[in-house]
């Protein structure tokens, strides 16, 4: 508990650092909301017109003043207004987040339910055809970019089945679970494919490592059935690196899967952030990045807690 409290105390500090970094770095890239909106036509504005627009977009003050104003708002739970949407940033993020969370969970379920058994299979069939096939597939999965997998899926579905998941209008899990699953399953498979490949490789390597440990030899010598040795004795210990990997990967997925969201036209956090950067919607970029950072912190904390659950020898907070 002491450990947990100590970790939680660092959260605001890390978030403050992240906010500083994103606040000033996005203002360092050339262009602002005005050129983002008007493009080359921005050159036709008179200085008075430009000033009026800068006031409208809230970028007429020096960056430090803007940061102070923004931070004061954040402390009161107000992440500011998005100039693109004309609505509170937090409301927009919370609207997009369920989809991102669902997609991340679904991809993880696919990745773990395929990756772990495949890794175990490969490890126990060392150098035999099953192992080779799994390793080739895993290599393929890791080295094929997500956009290729996504486009191939869309192409195959539309050309050979005359079907693609409905895009553009997104059905939420609550309003229409079946349509929701229909829209998310293919993106989730796309993301899960690469994720499963890494999981397979890690679980195979880790399993091979554990299977050569003394306690496994002992268990085998005592006549424990082979299947039980693998699943009950070896797997839990082999899972620690898988948990680490999944934690990191899950953290990334919660930040939104930009390319897959782009291809399948899913309104998730990744596209929200990308569009916000393109439109120089500063408040929205800041809000999104802060939110993503917070997710990462929470996921990391959960991963640490999971270590302790998987291996009682690990005591959190021990110096």
């Amino acid at each position: 508990m002491n450990y947990l409290a100590r970790r939680l105390v660092t959260f605001p500090l890390i978030l403050l650092g992240v906010s500083l970094l994103v606040f000033f770095s996005i203002r360092m890239i050339p262009g602002d909301a005005i050129t983002a909106m008007l493009g080359t036509e921005a050159g036709l504005l008179t200085p008075v017109q430009r000033q009026a627009l800068a006031e409208y977009f809230g970028i007429d003050q020096p960056a430090v003043v803007q940061y102070g104003r923004w931070l004061w708002g954040v402390l009161q739970g107000d992440l500011g207004l998005s100039v693109t949407y004309g609505r509170p940033v937090l409301a927009i993020i919370l609207e997009r987040f369920p989809l991102t969370l669902e997609l991340a969970l679904l991809s993880m379920v696919i990745a773990l339910s395929v990756g772990v058994p495949a890794g175990v299979l490969a490890a126990t069939r060392g150098e035999r055809p099953a192992d080779v096939v799994v390793r080739i597939l895993a290599m393929l999965g890791q080295s094929t970019p997500g956009f290729v997998v996504g486009l191939v899926i869309i192409y195959v579905l539309s050309v050979y089945f005359g079907f693609i998941p409905a895009m553009g209008s997104f059905a939420s899990l609550w309003s229409d679970p079946l349509a929701n699953l229909g829209q998310l399953i293919f993106p989730a498979v796309t993301l899960g494919f690469a994720f499963a490949a890494s999981v397979t490789r890690i679980s195979r390597a880790s399993m091979l490592d554990v299977l050569s440990d003394d306690y496994i030899r002992t268990a085998r010598a005592k006549g424990v059935p082979a299947r039980s040795v693998v699943w009950h004795h070896a797997l839990p210990n082999a899972l620690i690196p898988v948990v680490t990997l999944s934690g990191v990967e899950f953290g990334y997925l919660l930040g939104g899967a930009v390319i897959v969201e782009q291809i399948f036209a899913l309104p998730g956090l990744g596209r929200l952030t990308l569009d916000a950067i393109g439109q120089r919607d500063y408040a929205l970029v800041q809000g999104c990045v802060l939110f993503i950072a917070l997710n990462f912190l929470i996921v990391n904390l959960l991963v640490d807690l999971a270590y302790a659950a998987l291996d009682p020898r690990i005591r959190l907070g021990a110096r």
């Binding site: 890239i29 050339p30 262009g31 602002d32 005005i34 050129t35 983002a36 909106m37 008007l38 493009g39 080359t40 036509e41 921005a42 050159g43 036709l44 504005l45 008179t46 008075v48 017109q49 430009r50 009026a52 627009l53 693109t84 949407y85 004309g86 379920v109 696919i110 339910s113 395929v114 772990v116 869309i154 579905l157 539309s158 050309v159 089945f161 005359g162 693609i164 998941p165 409905a166 895009m167 553009g168 209008s169 997104f170 079946l178 349509a179 699953l181 229909g182 399953i185 498979v189 299947r227 699943w231 782009q262 291809i263 399948f264 036209a265 309104p267 596209r271 929200l272 393109g278 120089r280």
Partner: protein
């Protein structure tokens, strides 16, 4: 036990995959399902300039007049108009049936308030520069508007056909809701908008322009154009805007799809910066013009989609490109011009934006190889659009590959770059007395035949001085299911033609 569990999970997944693959979504028969990759960026018709924003706003708002598919000026809110003899007043009679979607009649007060807002610097309207000749506006009765001009301004009427000169309700201006409510007198009403995701439009029952054969339009933002094609192919989208010529060329391969292509007014151009050496040398610029094979660039970079053009892209004024200076590639002449200029090859940087237009980097590469033939070594600087725009506006480049917007009239299209008080002079870095004088003559001349003559001289002179190397127009594409009929494309890119569409089965 563990194996059983994961096997069940597998089976569950497989079942889910099959179940969703079999799902056929019920067709919403009476709505046109449209898709585009770039969403509108805002709702204020006076402030927006992005292509998608204009296309959306043209469905919701109306200007006083509009361009038909031949780019002739035809009535919209105004049913008739007249310039005075001296060209100093322009009087409009409004259509008595024109109503905003809330049922209120469009009055001369709305028109007056709209133009005053447009001219107010605080509005930040980029199109304001086209309306500076308006000295005052009178509204003698609810159906009559009189614009008093400070000088004759023939292109004014054409500028008024832009949705940037839309008439918005005076009360929306008064309560500051123009940017948020989209209350217009156009054919559709915007029911909902989730930026970067979707728009829902329904037919405006009060529209004066006639009946529409369906109930509304659902616009989906599908950021990837390959996905748009897939969606059309699967029959889940009826109508779509396509930007990428490569995707457009795939459309005709599909038996159930139709591609509509029309040469747009925008032009692909290689902008030289005549304020930098050696582009300040006329012969060097002319050499570049002669070394460039425009048709080759069109064929390679734009996969043949578009046509070679001079500065004027509107059909009513455009010259035959073969009559313009060095429009046939002539390497020998180019080398001779370089030698005359005393320049023995040089290096220069060319800026291009990533993805805007999609062909920019391909164009830059073809230009690089063509100019290498006369000893010019081009270094390509690719950058994000916003970064590019900043550099472009500051005139901070040796050369720039650009896709510049066109207008239906030559004067507003080029006065910003090439008159001595043009507000984009920094971008062109180029003035010439004769060019300036021709533009001024074209501005005040109201006789169409005389204007054509003036602008032909302008075009010939401009290509000979070669501050920029005009290359080609790009096509504007829409793709649709063959079951949809009646859509008319326009060089302006407007989707107003959707009002005449019928949805088949």
């Amino acid at each position: 036990m563990y194996t059983k569990l994961s096997r069940t999970a597998f089976a569950g997944l497989a079942a889910a995959l099959l179940a969703t693959a079999g799902l056929a979504l019920p067709a919403q028969a009476a709505n046109l399902r449209m898709a585009w990759s770039q969403d509108a960026t805002g709702l204020d018709p006076h402030a927006q300039t992005a292509f998608s924003s204009l296309r959306l706003l043209e469905l919701i708002y109306e200007p006083l007049v509009r361009n038909d598919t031949n780019l002739d000026v035809v009535p919209a809110i105004a049913e008739s108009w007249e310039f005075s003899e001296d060209g100093l007043t322009l009087t409009f009679k409004l259509d008595p049936d024109a109503k905003f979607s809330d049922g209120a009649t469009v009055t001369s007060e709305d028109v007056k308030a709209s133009f005053e807002r447009l001219l107010d610097e605080a509005t930040g309207a980029a199109a304001r520069s086209n309306f500076l000749s308006i000295a005052s506006i009178d509204a003698p009765d609810p159906a009559t508007v009189v614009f008093n001009l400070s000088q004759p301004d023939a292109p004014l009427l054409v500028a008024m056909a832009s949705i940037n000169a839309a008439v918005v309700p005076a009360k929306a201006i008064a309560d500051g809701s123009v940017a948020t409510t989209a209350l217009g007198s156009g054919p559709f009403v915007l029911d909902s908008w989730e930026p970067n995701s979707r728009e829902e439009l329904s037919v405006n029952a009060n529209w004066a322009g006639g009946d529409i054969a369906y109930d509304g339009i659902t616009i989906s933002v599908l950021p990837d154009e390959t996905a748009i094609l897939a969606s059309l192919r699967a029959g889940q989208t009826d109508f779509a805007l396509i930007n990428d010529p490569l995707v457009a060329t795939l459309v005709p391969n599909e038996p159930n799809l139709q591609l509509n292509a029309v040469p747009g007014l925008a032009y692909n151009v290689l902008q030289l910066n005549p304020s930098r050496s050696p582009m300040d040398n006329l012969q060097v610029r002319q050499a570049i013009s002669c070394a460039v094979d425009r048709q080759d660039i069109l064929d390679t970079a734009l996969v043949g989609e578009g046509k070679v053009t001079g500065p004027l892209t509107m059909p009513a004024y455009a010259s035959d490109p073969s009559t313009l200076f060095c429009y046939e590639q002539d390497i020998e002449k180019a080398k001779a011009l370089m030698a005359e200029a005393g320049v023995d090859g040089f290096s220069a940087k060319v800026i291009a934006a990533t993805g805007e237009p999609p062909v920019a980097s391909a164009e830059a590469q073809v230009l690089q190889s063509q100019l290498a033939e006369i000893g010019i070594n081009l270094e390509i600087e690719l950058m994000e659009l916003n970064v590019y725009v900043d550099r472009w506006l500051a005139g901070d480049f040796d050369m720039a590959v650009a896709l510049n917007g066109g207008r239906t009239d030559p004067y507003p299209m080029y006065n910003r770059y090439f008159t001595k008080d043009g507000n984009l002079l920094k971008v062109s870095n180029f003035t010439d007395d004769e060019i300036d004088s021709l533009l001024q003559q074209g501005r005040v001349e109201t006789d169409i035949a005389k204007r054509k003559e003036i602008f032909q001289q302008f075009e010939a002179r401009l290509t000979e001085l070669a501050p920029w190397i005009w290359l080609s127009t790009s096509n504007i594409y829409t793709a649709q299911l063959k079951t949809i009929s009646g859509f008319e494309s326009s060089a302006t890119g407007t989707l107003f033609g959707l009002t005449k569409v019928t949805l088949g089965q």
